[in-house]
Symmetry: D2
Subunit: 441 residues, 4 copies
């Protein structure tokens, strides 16, 4: 990828329609607006720097998000729609609320509608009515998990969606969702572009798994491992409460183990973490089952955290199903481990008690914790700044200490994963004391 | 049952060995000791009173628990054992800690051992070593769920248990467990009695389901519905997050719906509660499935709380299994509902999204909340008072505002249930707005 | 007091206007309505029973609360007002919500108004407008502390209040407040009676201190000591974090130490509890300062919980101020202890570090916990049942396991206190290990 | 400052004594050790990059922390001391535990002592004994706030400290504390250097205020604003519970408003934030008092968050006291605001109710939340890696997404502050809607 791939599109700049003058802000003070052309480096090591200097290459970088002095849209006649798609994730309501408040109070945009139940809400046959959103109607929603707009999974017809946007005279569409949703948002943008409409499409990436590329942290992720932390503590009580007690907690993470890894780093009782990025065997002297048995012989209890996408190599990929969003439905690794352990230890006459805990719905439907609440608010404010300035086909992200803007295609180009030879995984190994490899030998 | 059935046994009173004089208390002040013969009425209505007066019958009543001036055991050479059995329940560690602290600091009993992993810990073949318990070793355990002693299910050989008690020179055995455990404790008492040993057997009833008869509240129960409360709130977010979203939360309650009912009363979002005590049909115009569909047509989301023992009439009782404690393993009513709803609504083409949540292990392994923590401490203190006074074959209970003592046989004579024509269930009906009956018509 | 003092008044029974027939309940099922004349005994010991039988006296008792078949008010034209007075207390919003929902959904009463800012809201000069209350407008309020209606302290002119009630055509007034508020409610009832109006006045007693007589537990009290529990745990960290570290936590309790005592029973780290009901000296070999010093010499940290009304004997009563509600403003015993300790230990050159923590506003403004939430709902439902049946000048209470109804004058006749020679205080002494007396010798 | 100022010192590299070979790790796998010479840029904008390239200057950067292949100390005879100083902060116990576990399990260092009560613990006259630290002794401490080692404020004699380190044969000293502590650590290092001792001094910076320079986040800070979040929510209930209700919450922040700002961003109910970095007037049409009054006239409640160091310009600096650590003791701005508001509004006859809440001790003594818990663990692991590699006079920090190492003098060279013309403060202004300036006009 080159520098240019990271440039965010702007709706026809010539048509700038208004200026964020003192009078359009709630207070007249002049803040330092974002200079359009400053950016933040993706790679920030000194060795990278030296390499870039040597090769005289402009390093790849992200646009920094923030308020712009010149607006593309005139607040007094701008109409905005918000849609939330995909699975629940802590913080969605915070994002909705902050988009509404930022538009209403800071930009004086008063026409905001919520689309019900994801992209379904644009499609006539479902007959979901839009709802008007005001600071009053979203007043307390940040205290609750879920999404007040409702959500759904799966693609809908792009042409009908853009028809509906046109009919509603929408100028800006905020799409809150995961990579399927963002691919949809990009397709919507392309159809808008084809029709030469002046509609900005802004993505606010939602992935509880924290696996969106080029974004160092996604909202709801911290809340997820925070809640998992309590559940793991309790699971530890199950493990120590029985002779050779085993507790298995399955956490979210279809393609990556960020929640599992961070949860294990935040609660020091975990003995084994299994994630999609790692290869491991069940059998063999270094395999999972023997590692577990040795642990039990030594300490008489074991606490295991497993990401839902771990160990999928044990299943025949030909048989893997997909959900309505097109995500592969993982075979249940938790139940698989339960079966295998039971089979093996019963065969050996090795006594044990096993408890299997799957708290996914409890985690994803929780309200955002304080830090995520703050983060959601700032993501939303920056998304509004960018959209009001006419940027489109973008997502708002975060990199190092900056809020950033990225083209949607870049953000969905691939998923972020844990490097099992990198620092994070080393930290997990050091914290849990688990063997660095559980490959058969 | 008559007045005499409620009398607690005392080890040969003639042999009183010491007195709780000022010097054996940490401080010399004379408190009002419990008068041995005051009791608290079981039925406290005025109409009952009048009936008893008319019939000149001594009303049935419980012994009031509390400190006794004359002790049966001499603290300086008393040795105590504590055992915890059955499933986890919030507060077990609090009980252990308070028994230890009360014995150690108030009675100066310094020899206390913990039996590991339930009744297994008495049986040689399991090779579990007793652990010494001191205020230091139990210092922080009340902040954690589970049991530091470990637990197991199922009966063990009574003769071997009493052999071990004799060998360890135990004078008092505290058994913390459910009705299976208490039946075991009673059998231990009988064997002790047969051998003419001076060992007191004290039961501290543990049932997260709150279903012990003649005890108005069992420890851990409030914590259970408190944690369920949060989980139900989050489940509500799942329900409202989808069009015709249904969330089913299965809560503990094998034979009674107390947790389900209290959870529904504490969080006002629940629409339907199903408990073992109620009869209901799936089909028919007033049956569960139609009630649910009408709810969805009207409000487009539904939140259901189901006790694990509800609807067992849908299963063939011949096939019901038992667990190691002899409890009937309920067929999973949650999964049954999920299947039936899916079948019915898919057949009808009625759109819905269903999430099924089973948080049992998360609830039962949590630490006690503040009120349960207080309650556990007082139960333990009263159990120690009674045992030091030589009472045996008893459980410590609570009735109205008093801590009480009951003979073990009385406490396990039958299980407490919700009266579906009584006030509690009426309150649930009023709070949820669910139909008073879901019987087919 | 005699049996008759405990009789609840009813608005002219002859004028019964409607019946809670199946059609006026949401569902036609016949529940067991409350028999008007059953009651629950106040004293429930067997010795009391025998004494009553001997003396042939009808024992004093409370009316049991619950739904009545015959209503006094016709739901379709009944208008209800709710007012909240005095200091904040966890659960007020739950009570408001449940009164509204019970009236609306179960009785089909649709005209409900909220009076703003306590009794001020009835008085023209303050110009506070009533607000309409519906299930929608109170939908989420139970998740929040405080009161959505606002509150104020102090008496207002009774004549103007009844004028306003008349003008608004109110049939039932629910007063949620402490004993000042309830005295006001009684005065309102008397003025109503003088004018021969058919307005029912229902009190829902609110006292975070749990000191209302003849009521075994008031709403918000459990939440209060639950939140205090966490704060005390943290204060313990302050105490152990320094050499001879002292942490003093002041808790609510103007005339009684229930919160302090229950908090100390729920968190086992507390070393000294001081309450209004106990006498203690600062000086002398057994006085507070020496007890504290010995504790520090022995363990090098001390955790003290003090009720705000403790030790008022150290202050000159002539100088005690009253707040707008007429409550005596306690001199700050926490600051007094801090000063005295500092003075004494500095004079002696005894090293120490002292942290003083006053969390009152944090506690009283918190949302109700699960058990209080349940309790508030049931209190409200029972208050509505009684008021709809035409009862007046009553409060809804709780005794042993029953919701009860009491005449307001009885409930405010005196305050409940801890008996320092009784079981609760003995439990505190046993749990903290503090000396039973800190009187000078 | 130049590139060289950011170089971390190493104890005489020639004397490398051991290698972190597979056998000294718990598991033989080779991880990617940190390359000694890679670093991470401090300024990461593209404009900075271009400027550096133009001027051919090596950009300033931090050393990246991580495990080193070659160790300076031989684990089998290394002895380590840990000391905690200054005020409490969430996470200190996590850091202690993780230092111990990392040394013990990963490096096989078995001799670890805890110094009691800060630097006092080194000084003979205080007579505080060191305690041995093992994984068992620190097993559960991460669940609790405070510090198990105890702490104290203030400088102690450096010569005596180094004498004690020598006498105890300490090889590595971990100092957990704020900038006073770190200055002390640097002085200890200098004395060690003067004496030619091979003792590594490692700083783990603790500042709940998050104001250490060149470190983007300090441990405990997130927990602080998380707990503040709940307290602010409750304070909001106080504000809305009264007519013209004002709630003032004072939060920590002696020289910077990070906690206040982040708390306000995480809970959207705050109306006014006051921080040390901002100038504001009490009087004048745009001054604080008028802003507050207009807010009340408009909405009838106001929620104010004030950092303890705000508005110190209102006090005569000549009279400011210092605490034992040499920190200026701020005059209480909260009480000052309370007085001024009361004075002004009473004079004007403007009705109001004001509640002042100071939760500092409750916040700083809380246990670390999940994210801080994780962060503390990783800080500790990285501090151990660096110290075992012979680095000294350093602190472990965090910058963007990397754990870093900095020379102590750099980290204490100045305090970090909020730029009131920068993005964070702009976000606060946008979120609260408060005027960008409250300067008199």
């Amino acid at each position: 990828m080159t520098h240019d791939d990271f440039k965010v599109k702007v709706l026809g700049r010539a048509e700038v329609k208004s200026k964020l003058t003192p009078s359009s802000l709630s207070d007249g003070t002049a803040f330092g607006f974002i200079e359009n052309d400053d950016r933040v480096l993706i790679n920030t090591t000194l060795s990278n720097y030296k390499q870039d200097v040597e090769t005289s290459k402009t390093p790849i970088s992200f646009e920094i998000a923030g308020p712009h002095e010149y607006l593309y849209f005139n607040p007094s006649n701008t109409k905005v729609a918000i849609v939330t798609c995909g699975g629940l994730c802590p913080g969605v309501n915070n994002v909705i609320q902050s988009v509404v408040n930022q538009l209403y109070y800071r930009y004086k945009v008063k026409q905001i509608v919520g689309i019900r139940y994801g992209y379904e809400g644009f499609i006539a046959k479902y007959n979901h009515q839009e709802v008007e959103l005001t600071p009053q109607s979203v007043d307390k929603i940040h205290f609750f998990g879920g999404t007040v707009l409702g959500t759904s999974r799966g693609d809908q017809d792009i042409v009908q969606i853009v028809d509906r946007l046109s009919k509603l005279n929408i100028n800006i569409l905020f799409c809150i969702g995961g990579d399927g949703t963002l691919r949809g948002a990009h397709a919507i943008h392309q159809e808008i572009h084809r029709r030469n409409l002046n509609i900005s499409v802004a993505g606010i990436p939602k992935t509880i798994d924290n696996d969106i590329n080029f974004i160092d942290k996604s909202f709801g992720f911290e809340t997820a491992f925070t809640i998992a932390n309590d559940i793991i503590r309790y699971a530890h009580n199950e493990a120590i409460g029985a002779y050779n007690g085993i507790a298995i907690v399955k956490l979210m993470g279809r393609n990556s183990g960020f929640i599992a890894a961070h949860a294990a780093l935040s609660v020091h009782e975990v003995n084994l973490v299994l994630i999609p990025e790692m290869a491991f065997d069940m059998d063999g002297s270094n395999g999972f089952l023997n590692v577990l048995q040795r642990r039990l012989e030594n300490r008489h209890h074991a606490l295991i955290v497993v990401a839902e996408g771990a160990g999928q190599h044990f299943f025949d990929s030909a048989t893997l199903e997909k959900d309505a969003s097109g995500n592969i439905k993982n075979k249940d690794i938790g139940l698989f481990l339960k079966e295998k352990i039971t089979e093996e230890f019963e065969a050996k006459g090795f006594p044990f008690v096993l408890k299997y805990i799957d708290p996914s719905y409890i985690i994803r439907s929780a309200p955002a914790n304080a830090n995520d609440s703050k983060f959601c608010g700032l993501l939303a404010q920056n998304a509004v700044h960018a959209a009001m300035a006419g940027k489109t086909d973008f997502v708002v992200g975060h990199w190092n200490s900056n809020f950033t803007l990225l083209p949607i295609p870049i953000s969905v180009s691939k998923r972020k994963e844990i490097d099992v030879e990198g620092e994070l995984w080393w930290n997990v190994i050091e914290t849990t004391g688990q063997p660095a490899s559980m490959k058969k030998q």
